[in-house]
Symmetry: C2
Subunit: 333 residues, 2 copies
DNA sequence: CTGTTAGCGCCTTCAC
DNA sequence: GTGAAGGCGCTAACAG
């Protein structure tokens, strides 16, 4: 590997001139610029990023922090993809930090020494040691997913879960459904309460009483979904079910099939959140473009770092509702 | 951020002593060690990774290179996860480089200047510019997925696709199937020919003639799968179908359903490669632990870097065959 | 406009 | 056993 020194010698100029040529930091005559460039090419020279980083106190690396959720969900992959590709576009590198469950950041409070200019943190937690550490060390942060109240002053990015649940519920109501069961995500997550808000909003806008017993909670596994679906379907009380994800919807499907219940004839199903393309049966659902979310996060962190933008809280509204045969119309009330 | 200088002053020792304490590189008396450690703690000092890297010519970062396949497959996610978590364990960081399709490494031949000690490259290509560049710059590489012949001397890691296809086919044969259609992956991929080898091997071991017209090719999209399945099912010639993935298997399922063909009554279905948990209907399939593959790759690259291990070609045999209701027994021949 | 000089923070001989 | 000095490769004043 050749260094700036080699180039300066070959070109017969000083190191700083070479540096200036490469960084456009000062005017250098065209002739000398040419000589430098030629020498650099001949020596196959490229600036050493570590040295540059050390001198500039800037690494051009962003940490992307996420938790290994056991089953790493599709949403995360899309975000990772969006973040990495966008950041690469901006000439930043992405360092991936995946925590183990319940083992939050093995390196303890040493995060601040990671060679990064900023951090993107997925699914921040109420008492997030990573955030604490970055805040105290002044590292710029972007939070993806609902930001805990205690960190409202930080930049964050999320999809509009209230709006999504609202739209979904409204769509069902438009189709004549009133008794709508809601298998929501795990309790005490912000996303869960947001979804509930959207659900309630749609009901009340349509003068339908909210019935708390219609609300269930479930995590994203097909086994639990089936079990829960069993008891819900047995009640025979509902004309539609909203589920927290397509995986849960599949559980409902399976359970319905084994009970001889027809979808959408007997009950309609709508999923909040889908993994898109490979589903069968195709359930009505809302699909969020998480890759775009990742891209937006990437853009946000670079804006903070490079244009020292103030912190901002973005709510992305990029989703679409896909209505398939899983939702039917209720004509007789 | 405090530096080694601050610590040395506070502790009343020289910089090199502090360095020695932190790196166990020379004996330092217990008393002084204590003083240094205490000073470091008080100042919240940690070595600057960039400076360390510059001085050591080692960055403790590994590049993980992959291509954005449009639909980023689950296999990739598992590998990423395995690589990142394992490498973190070894105190390495992972930098994620995701190429756009057909835009192989935008940075051209500048890869060598990435601040990495080694590279893990997923799905290497015959003429892989990334590999070329790393080889010429002496950067250690581990290839994940079938390594092109031209790079056989490099370390690589793959699952045993011959064996997998062989086992799958054998299982079907054991269940009485002889006319087995094979929807293989895209032609001219090594995995495709390996799978074919395994398929043929199982046939010939059981004295079943290989019939080339039983072989089809399909990429991993449900639409194409359905179309292809349509023509295969119409032939009515087969008692079983092996598909290249569970997505393709789903296409077969859907097509069968719309044609009133019963699985496994009329035809059995087996998928080579599965996304596991969220499938419905549950298709018989082979599941490969790609996370382990990623972990193994991580281990391999660190062995090369830290213990300058010779290059090695590992074939991982961690898969399991899951037989569900999608495969039936053929009794009458 | 160009070159000299002094760091960035750390590691590592090499004397003491 | 410990410390002083030089260097990793680059950038940023500051002179010239």
């Amino acid at each position: 590997m050749s260094t700036i020194n080699d180039v300066s010698k070959l070109a017969g100029v000083s190191k700083s001139t070479v540096s200036n040529v490469f960084n456009n930091t000062k005017y250098v005559s065209e002739e000398i610029t040419d000589r430098v460039l030629k020498a650099a090419q001949e020596l196959n020279y490229y600036p050493n990023k570590l040295a540059t980083g050390l001198a500039n106190k800037k690494t051009y690396m962003i940490g992307l922090f996420l938790e290994n959720l056991g089953e790493f969900r599709s949403m995360h992959h899309q975000i990772i993809e969006g973040v990495a590709m966008k950041l690469n576009e901006f000439n930043y590198n992405v360092i991936l930090y995946i925590d183990r469950d319940n083992e939050k950041i093995p390196k303890g409070a040493k995060l601040r020494i990671e060679p990064i200019d900023g951090a993107i943190i997925l699914d921040p937690e109420i008492e997030d040691i990573r955030i604490k550490d970055f805040v105290s060390s002044g590292t710029p942060i972007v939070l993806v997913g609902k930001a805990p109240k205690s960190y409202e002053n930080l930049s964050s990015l999320d999809v509009d879960n209230i709006e999504i649940a609202y739209s979904a519920t409204k769509m069902l109501i438009k189709n004549g459904h009133e008794k709508i069961a809601f298998i929501n995500s795990k309790p005490n997550l912000t996303i869960t309460s947001d979804r509930l808000k959207g659900y309630i909003k749609a009901l009340s806008e349509n003068q339908i009483d909210f019935e708390p017993s219609y609300i269930y909670n479930c995590d994203n596994t097909i086994i639990k979904a089936k079990k829960l679906a069993g008891s819900i379907l047995e009640k025979g009380e509902f004309s539609a079910i909203i589920t927290e994800s397509d995986v849960v919807a599949l559980g409902v499907y399976e359970e319905a099939k084994s009970k001889g219940i027809n979808i959408p004839g007997d009950i309609s199903v709508f999923a909040l959140g889908g993994m898109d393309y490979f589903l069968t049966p195709e359930v009505s659902r809302v699909v969020v473009d998480y890759k775009k979310l990742g891209e937006a996060a990437a853009k946000q962190i670079t804006m903070i770092i490079d244009n020292n933008q103030q912190s901002s809280n973005l709510i992305l509204n990029e989703y679409k509702i896909i209505k398939t045969g899983s939702v039917g119309q209720v004509s007789i009330r």
